[in-house]
């Protein structure tokens, strides 16, 4: 007997929660316990009184599973609101930041700098043998930049994961 798995589409969820100990564990635990995917997760508090955090989760699954994920999140006691940003279609903005360290000298170093320029990555640190680039963009763009840097002496990457927000004047 083989175990079957189902493919699905990528969704970006924005969740506001009480900024309290254990809430993140509750949310990530829900994903593991029910077998849902987490492709990326970011969290930080967003209100002046530090009472609320916003979690952005990139997940994937067939539509009924996405609905189920939202319903499951929504009924957790510390969860205030859950929004599927895909419901806004293309009408949301997604960004991710990566810090990319590249080491090397000579041609490779020049090539790395040239490429960074094309991607509008900023140099945030430099030594005679290394650069740290800061790149901001969609995950795709960050992926492509990192792939190119692999050819130019990439030694280390740190990524934030996706944050996203719907376009227009409405708030979550």
């Amino acid at each position: 007997m083989k175990i079957k798995t189902e493919a699905g589409e990528r969704h970006v969820l924005a969740i506001t929660v009480d900024n309290e100990a254990g809430v993140l564990a509750k949310i990530t635990g829900l994903f593991t316990a029910r077998g849902y995917n987490i492709e990326s997760l970011t969290v930080a508090d967003i209100t002046a009184d530090h009472a609320l955090s916003r979690i952005t989760i990139v997940t994937s699954g067939p539509p009924p599973i996405i609905d189920q994920i939202i319903a499951q999140l929504d009924r957790l006691v510390p969860v205030h609101k859950v929004i599927d940003l895909n419901d806004a279609g293309e009408a949301h903005v997604e960004r991710e930041i990566a810090l990319v360290k590249v080491a090397g000298t000579g041609d490779k170093r020049i090539e790395a700098l040239r490429m960074a320029d094309v991607f509008r990555a900023k140099v945030v640190d430099t030594t005679l043998t290394s650069f740290i680039f800061e790149i901001t963009g969609t995950s795709d763009k960050v992926d492509r930049f990192i792939a190119l840097m692999r050819e130019c002496g990439l030694v280390e990457v740190g990524r934030t994961g996706v944050v996203a927000i719907a376009r227009g004047s409405e708030a979550l």
Binding site: M1, V17, D18, A21, G22, A25, K26, G29, L30, A33, P64, D67, Q68, A71, Q72, D74, R75, V77, P78, V79, H80
Partner: protein, 584 residues
């Protein structure tokens, strides 16, 4: 606002919340609360013999009264022992508040004596949990916890209280009105959805009500509303294991339980219906059988307080999020306002009666006095003997549980206490303790299997201590019968570790605890034995010896459709493919 110790706040909050009973077990990390209890004679503390039993007793108390059950246990092993009952309450939506002691805040995270990460361990088996780091927060948290446990879909809430927070003093604050900042379950159903439901029911030729534990949780008024709506529409009713009692079993519209060990007529009617009205039920795998064959031609209305239950397993045509009772009331009002008289369902009922004619709950038996007792007969005899006594029945888990569900009839809610979602052996006896505490003058009977009973048999001491007249009626087949049945069906009768070897002499055990012990060996002794059990004051254990190899039918084997029921032993073929074996 009053300055008091954390422990006093806990007890004061219990008093303010109207709690009369706490099931618990002391230990180092809760000694301050125990000391505070000592000074508060209005709260009755029931000292169990194992913390798991405290949780099941609290469930029994809650399920039989509709009020939340309260548990008090110490840190570490006290808390971990409570986990099974907490999970059981989560799966069966039982309101419960569990207070656990914790090591002092300075020691948290140091692997201190009897430290465990209680909030971590219980995070996913509670509806919500708290670690209280400041005594000033105790008042609001206690009140909020009871609110969360009892509102929306009920469930267990854990409050973990470090010992220094119990000792320190602070301000006891009673929140004025609990409007939780994020938890606000939708109780009132949507009016448009109700109107649609009324129209769908009115248009249906083959409707069926499929009701669950949510109707019981919604209170006796919801059961009354269900009865009224069924009478108005004339539709048949089936229910899950957890929903038994919401609709009277002697009503002609009652088809019996559905699902794996449900009746033929209930399952066939679900399969052939053109409209299913699901009320407070969650399309559990034990109910649906093979999903792609589940009620293929029906439209489905799903009423549930928990939006995540809707479309989780079976996609439905109309979702109504809200309290079951209010939704039923609204449908009744809509039905009456529209002047519907109910369609002629005569053709549908003729088909239902055709399925009923299989008499699927009949079982072969010998009738002479020396004959061995069929377990179904024992349940029927118990039912007959207790008619009019309005008993509360609890069960353990296994064949006996299913036979009780099939053959014991209930006229009203809150009289049937069983572990449905988690299927916890060891639930039934402590649950009967909780029910008896809540209803000192009622007849409370635990229908037990000899194997399950041993999982919390230590509670005989609790029963003796509080002089509870609990009756345990063991259907003793000397097997983990349900396991043996599956081994027969799936593993060509290779009975791996399913024999109940080295059983105690239950009559002597009764004697050792100061109970009355009775043994029933054959059919001739059955009626008298039951009569004696009922008439004997105080706790009684009945070791009722039943046919050892009887199996529970009808049965939908796992992975099969409602229409593929096994009605009798001769339907069993004895082998199963891996796909079916992989299903629980």
């Amino acid at each position: 606002m009053t300055e008091m110790s954390g422990a006093d706040m806990v007890v004061q909050a219990l008093v303010d919340l109207g709690v009369d009973t706490v099931f618990g077990y002391p230990g180092g990390a809760v000694l301050p609360i125990y000391d505070a209890l000592y000074k508060h004679p209005t709260i009755q503390h029931i000292l169990v013999r194992h913390e798991q039993a405290a949780t099941h007793a609290a469930e029994g108390y809650a399920r039989s009264t509709g009020k939340p059950g309260v548990v008090l246990v110490t840190s570490g092993p006290g808390a971990t022992n409570a986990v099974t009952g907490i999970t059981d309450a989560l799966l069966d939506s039982i309101p419960m508040v569990v207070l656990t002691g914790q090591v002092s805040t300075a020691l948290i995270g140091t692997d201190a004596f009897q430290e465990c990460d209680t909030v971590g361990i219980t995070r996913h088996c509670t509806k919500h949990n708290y670690l209280v780091m400041d005594p000033d927060r105790l008042g609001p948290i206690m009140h909020e916890a009871f609110h969360i446990a009892t509102h929306g879909r009920p469930g267990p809430v854990v409050i973990d209280i470090p010992k220094n927070v119990q000792v320190a003093t602070g301000q006891y604050v009673i929140p004025e009105k609990i409007a939780h900042k994020s938890y606000r379950p939708q109780v009132e159903p949507d009016a448009d959805a109700i109107a649609q439901a009324v129209a769908m029911i009115a248009a249906s030729e083959r409707p069926i009500f499929y009701t669950g534990g949510g109707v019981i949780n919604a209170g006796p008024d919801a059961s009354a509303a269900l009865r009224q709506l069924v009478a108005l529409t004339g539709a048949p009713v089936t229910s899950t294991l957890m929903g038994l009692g919401a609709f009277p079993s002697d009503d002609e519209k009652w088809l019996g339980m559905l699902g794996m060990h449900g009746t033929y007529e209930a399952n066939m009617a679900m399969n052939r219906a053109d409209l299913i009205i699901a009320v407070g039920a969650r399309f559990d795998d034990r109910v649906t059988g093979r999903l792609d064959a589940f009620s293929p031609d029906s439209k489905k209305i799903h009423i549930d307080i928990d939006r995540s239950s809707i479309n989780k397993i079976v996609p439905v045509d109309l979702a109504i999020v809200g309290d079951a009772g209010r939704a039923l009331d609204a449908i009744i009002a809509g039905w009456q306002a529209a002047g519907h008289n109910g369609r002629d369902l005569g053709e549908w009922w003729r088909r239902v009666d055709g399925w009923r004619a299989t008499r699927c709950l009949d079982f072969p038996e010998k009738k002479d006095a020396s004959a061995e007792i069929m377990p179904q007969r024992a349940v029927k005899a118990l039912f007959d003997a207790t008619r009019g006594l309005d008993p509360i029945i609890t069960t353990e888990v296994g064949q006996h549980q299913m036979w009780a569900a099939q053959h014991f009839g209930f006229a009203a809610p809150n009289r049937w206490l069983t572990s449905g979602g988690l299927g916890t052996m060891g639930y039934g006896f402590p649950a009967s303790v909780g029910a008896q505490i809540a209803h000192p003058d009622r007849l409370v009977i635990c229908i037990a299997g000899e194997a399950s009973l041993q999982m919390n048999i230590q509670e005989m001491g609790t029963v003796s201590q509080y002089r509870l007249p609990v009756k345990i009626f063991i259907l003793n087949n000397e097997w983990m019968g349900m396991v043996r049945q599956w081994q027969e069906l799936t593993y060509e009768s290779r009975y791996s570790n399913s024999y109940s070897d080295s059983l105690p002499d239950f009559v002597k055990l009764a004697d050792a605890y100061g109970w009355t012990g009775l043994r029933i060996d054959n059919l001739g002794q059955l009626e008298d034995g039951i009569k004696k059990m009922i008439e004997t004051p105080g706790p009684v254990i009945v070791d009722c010896r039943v046919a050892q190899l009887a199996n529970c039918f009808p049965m939908i084997p796992s992975g099969a459709a409602h229409t593929e029921m096994l009605l009798q032993p001769s339907d069993v073929t004895g082998t199963m493919d891996d796909e079916a074996k992989a299903l629980v």
